[in-house]
């Protein structure tokens, strides 16, 4: 009883997050190497070596930071990633928490992520971090709406706000085909909530690392880890909302799920390396003028399809 309700879920989430975050770093390293970055320690070793270096580095201070918020923000972001992953089903029974409203919970993880990222930049009390935080809020407020409409779209055919039901509703046809606009829009949300690649408005190069520009040592390691973990959690949500989660022939359900998560991760990381950072103003315009109306279309599509 205790094993099934407490230890197993915690174990599941921890293992997937840690292994997943490591794989994110490795895949990213491999992609960067394939695209021509001179590689040093080798893809499998580099993330571990960098982590070890950060553990050996001193955690620095800035002038009058908000210490509690500054130190808590990376941990909170990691916690949000864990909460997000906790509602992702790996099989009809292997779910850390099978909340009835897990799709809405995922939405609130996205909203709270915005808060935490803002807090991380704001609390450092340095200019570049603060600009990163401001910018991220503009992006965050735009992607949350898109995500909401897209997720309502997948909840409609399932007639449920539960991820396990959403997966079960894709028995005949995966949502990626049934609602072709959904997955691309959701991937944009994913890039936004992990501020990865083209949507890296928070920790970008033009801000010398943005919200993380004044962070060093173990807190920076936690922040990097949390970002990768959030990417893993997102890939879990995307795989179960659009790619049929555990459904698939021959292989056992959880294996299918992991394969699909890896595929989503690979796509996101590839986009991250191939596209330039979108200018904030252009980004917000795109979000509100192009992607948000597209998410309406997606929702109407899903509604009509559900009524059919």
């Amino acid at each position: 009883m205790i094993f099934n309700e407490l230890i197993l879920p915690v174990l599941l989430v921890t293992v997937v997050l840690v292994v997943g975050a490591y794989l994110v770093a490795v895949i990213d390293e491999v992609i960067a190497g394939a695209l021509g970055r001179p590689s040093g320690a080798g893809a499998w070793m580099a993330p571990l070596a960098q982590g070890a270096w950060l553990l050996n580095q001193q955690a620095n201070a800035t002038e009058a930071p908000d210490w509690r918020a500054w130190r808590l923000a990376p941990a909170l972001y990691l916690a949000l990633a864990a909460i997000g992953l906790a509602v992702v089903p790996f099989s009809p029974t292997l779910i850390a928490t099978d909340l009835v409203t897990s799709v809405v919970l995922w939405g609130s993880v996205e909203a709270l992520a915005t808060v935490v990222i803002f807090l991380h930049g704001w609390s450092a009390n340095t200019l570049l971090a603060l600009i990163g935080a401001y910018r991220y809020v503009a992006l965050g407020l735009s992607y949350i709406l898109i995500s909401m409409f897209v997720l309502i779209g997948v909840a409609l055919p399932a007639e449920s706000l539960q991820f396990s039901q959403v997966v079960a509703s894709q028995e005949e046809l995966w949502n990626v085909i049934r609602q072709p606009l959904g997955l691309p829009l959701f991937l944009i949300v994913g890039l936004g909530m992990t501020f990865w690649g083209p949507l890296n408005l928070a920790d970008s190069r033009d801000l010398a690392g943005g919200t993380a520009s004044a962070v060093s040592g173990p807190p920076r390691l936690v922040w990097n880890l949390a970002r990768a973990a959030m990417l893993v959690a997102f890939s879990g949500a995307a795989a179960s909302a659009f790619l049929g989660g555990w459904l698939g022939p021959w292989l056992p359900g959880p294996v299918w799920m992991l394969l699909k998560m890896l595929a989503v991760l690979a796509v996101l990381l590839l986009i991250g390396r191939l596209m330039p950072r979108v200018q904030p103003e252009r980004c917000v315009t795109l979000m509100w003028v192009v992607f948000l109306p597209l998410s309406f279309v997606d929702l109407i599509w899903a509604g009509v399809e559900a009524l059919w």
Binding site: A64, D66, L99, V115, W122, V137, L161
Partner: protein, 204 residues
Amino acid sequence: MDYPLIVDVFFVLLAILAVVSGWRVFATDSMVRASFFLLVSFIAVGVIMILLAAEYLGVAMFFMMAVEMMVMAIFMVMFMMNPAGLNPMMMVHQHKFSIAAGAVSFLVLAAVALLAEFPDNPLSADIDPVRSLGNELLGDSMLIFESAGIVLLTTMIGVVVLSSHNGRYGAAEEGSMPPGLVPGGDPAGMPEEEDEGGGHHHCH
């Protein structure tokens, strides 16, 4: 209705968190911190709602309040002098009266909670709260729900009109002037040429 011990323990912790963070909202030096303390208070209440089986409402609370407090924090930074809390801050008026009013209202409400007899009619196990809420929203109470939607739409339009920079009769801040640092003093924190706008001020 009897809850397991673990639920009671969680409830006590969350209740303390909700009250303490609610109090810290008005006791911290930084406006941004204040809005996030309020968020913590809301989240604690949201978790209590989930404990009470209102799963949708509790989770919706996280969602709504995260966005709302984020916007709040941004407005704080926009309008307040001391967003980072680097300076001590206590901006209150009628302080004693407010404390008394707060205490009295708490006491009255607490008395109601303690003394009134409420029917003991706990949630029956066969109700699916999310489904019942959905059926209510789009069934019997659809009119209320839709009116709320219309009101929100009207609010949006009104808000855009109120806050837009340019109105029918020109720029919104035409002829405006900041208050002085001392009562009746020179306008604070505005460029020199704005002082000419101050002359205009006497006209009305």
